[in-house]
Symmetry: C2
Subunit: 239 residues, 2 copies
DNA sequence: ATTAGTTTTGGTCAATGTGACTTTAACTAA
DNA sequence: TTAGTTAAAGTCACATTGACCAAAACTAAT
C-alpha cells in the first residue's frame, strides 16, 4: 500500500499518483586547485546506484520525511551523503517540470549550501561520493546540470550584493582571503587596495588584534565576521 | 484509494502519507485608493468554504495536476479563481513547515504575480473572491500572512533593483506613472526630477513620439518598456 | 648587515552616480 | 491675460568607485 505509487510505471497509475516530492542540495566549497593552488569552487556529487540514470553523477538528495521541515531534510541528506554540516543553507528553487524523471513526476525542492574548507577537507569521499570542480562538470543525471548552473548564478549574484563570502571561510581570516573567495567565485581579478576599502566599509567585519604569521611578507591582520546568515522567509535580512 | 490519504486524519495514517503538494499565488495589482485616488497595492483573496480555517480569507491556490508544470498550475488557478492572466509570474518560495495545516502535512509552492490595472479592474469579484489592500490585511488562513509579507518584501526588493515596475502598467505610460508605481510599492515620495533622470538612464525604456493629452498641464511624453520579464532558472536574466 | 622580493596598508585623483534644489517650458482653467 | 499645474532640463555638493602610487613590514637571499 505504501509503495503502490512509487512502483507504478504505467501511465494509468501515473495519472493517479501525486507528484513525488524530493529534496536536493547543491553544496559549494572552496578547495585549492590542483595546479595553481588558488582556491576554486567545488561541489560533491553522488553516483546513482539505480535506474533511472544509473551510474551517472547527481546532486545529493532524497525524499522528504514526515517529521522534518524542508530545511531539516536538506540538512539531513547533506549530512548523510557527505558528512558535512554546512555553515550556510538556503532554499534555491522548486523544480517541477513534467519530464525531469522518465517514469515518474518528481518535484524537487533544491537547497544550496556553503561549507568551510576545513569541513570540506574532512568530507567523506568514496566510490560513490566525489568532489568535482563546479566549472567542469560532466553530464549529470536528471536536470541537475541546469540546477547547478542556476545555483552558480545565484551564488555569484549574492556575492555581489550580500555578505555571503564569509561562510566559505573560518572564524578568522585576512582580507586577502576574502578577496580570494570573490576572485574564485566571480572568476576575475580584483584590485587589492580597492577591495580592502570596500570590505572595511561594511560594519559586519570586525578587526581583531591578531595577525597571521608565517607568510614571507608583512603579516596581515585577522578579521572576524559578525553578521547573520539571513535570507528567506524563515530567516530574513538583506537583499 | 485515491483519497485515502487526504481523508486520513489520524496520526498513524498521517505518518505514512506523503506530504501533499499545493500551489498558491500572491497576486499584486495597483488600484486607486478610495480616498486619495493615488495608486496603492491590492491583492485578491478567496474565502475558504471548508475546514480548516473555514470562512477565513486565504491566497488563491490548489493542488498540482499531473500534466502541468508548477508555473502552469499557478497560472491556471490564478485564472480560475480571479479570471486574471498575469503580466508577470515568478516563483516565490516553497513553504514546508510541519504545522502549516492542522491535520495534514502540506508543502506549498508559492508564486507571485503582477497584473495590470486594466486587467485587475475586470477581475471577478464575488461573495468568495475579494480584493484587499496589501498593507491592511486581516488574519488569514494558514501561514498566509507570513507568505504575503515575504512576497511584499521580495516585490520591494526587486523594484529597487530590476525593472519590474512596468508590469504593473500598460503598454504606454508616462514617467510620472512609473514614479507613482514606485511610490506606491516603496511607500515613500520620490523626487520627480531625479527619478526621471534615473529611469531615462535605463536602456529598456524607449521614448515614443506620443504625448498624453488631457491633463491640466504640460502634456507628458509617453514611453514604452522593451525589456523581458525574466528571472528564475526557467527564464533568467537580471538580479 | 644589507638588499631584494613579497604582500599589506594607506593614500591620491578623475570619473561617475545621487540627493536636494532651481528654473524654464507647455499646457488648462479662470 | 494671468494663475495654477506638471514636465523637463539643469546645477551643485557629496559619496562611491576604479586606476594607480607609495610606504610599511615582514622573509629570504646575498
Amino acid at each position: 500500500m505504501k509503495t503502490v505509487y512509487a512502483n507504478s510505471a504505467n501511465v494509468a497509475e501515473r495519472r493517479l499518483a501525486p507528484p513525488s516530492l524530493a529534496i536536493s542540495t547543491v553544496i559549494f566549497a572552496l578547495r585549492p586547485s590542483e595546479r595553481s593552488g588558488r582556491p576554486t569552487l567545488w561541489l560533491p556529487l553522488v553516483r546513482r546506484i539505480r535506474e533511472p540514470f544509473k551510474d551517472m553523477w547527481a546532486l545529493p538528495g532524497g525524499p522528504l520525511q514526515h517529521d522534518e521541515s524542508l530545511q531539516d531534510a536538506a540538512s539531513r541528506n547533506l549530512r548523510e551523503t557527505t558528512g558535512l554540516s554546512p555553515e550556510y543553507l538556503e532554499q534555491l528553487y522548486a523544480f517541477g517540470g513534467l519530464h525531469r524523471s522518465p517514469n515518474q513526476r518528481v518535484v524537487s525542492i533544491v537547497y544550496w549550501a556553503l561549507v568551510q574548507p576545513t569541513e570540506a577537507a574532512l568530507a567523506d569521499e568514496s566510490e560513490n561520493v566525489r568532489w568535482f570542480r563546479a566549472d567542469k562538470l560532466a553530464e549529470l543525471a536528471f536536470d541537475h546540470n541546469a540546477i547547478v548552473d542556476y545555483a552558480l548564478w545565484r551564488l555569484r549574484n549574492k556575492m555581489a550584493y550580500g555578505s555571503i563570502a564569509y561562510h566559505f571561510l573560518g572564524e578568522f581570516f585576512t582580507l586577502a582571503q576574502v578577496r580570494e573567495v570573490y576572485e574564485a567565485v566571480l572568476d576575475r581579478q580584483l584590485d587589492p587596495a580597492n577591495f580592502r576599502r570596500q570590505i572595511k566599509g561594511t560594519p559586519e567585519i570586525e578587526e581583531t588584534g591578531e595577525y597571521l604569521q608565517g607568510g614571507k611578507h608583512r603579516p596581515p591582520r585577522l578579521y572576524r565576521f559578525t553578521g547573520t546568515p539571513g535570507l528567506g522567509p524563515d530567516n530574513r535580512s538583506t537583499p
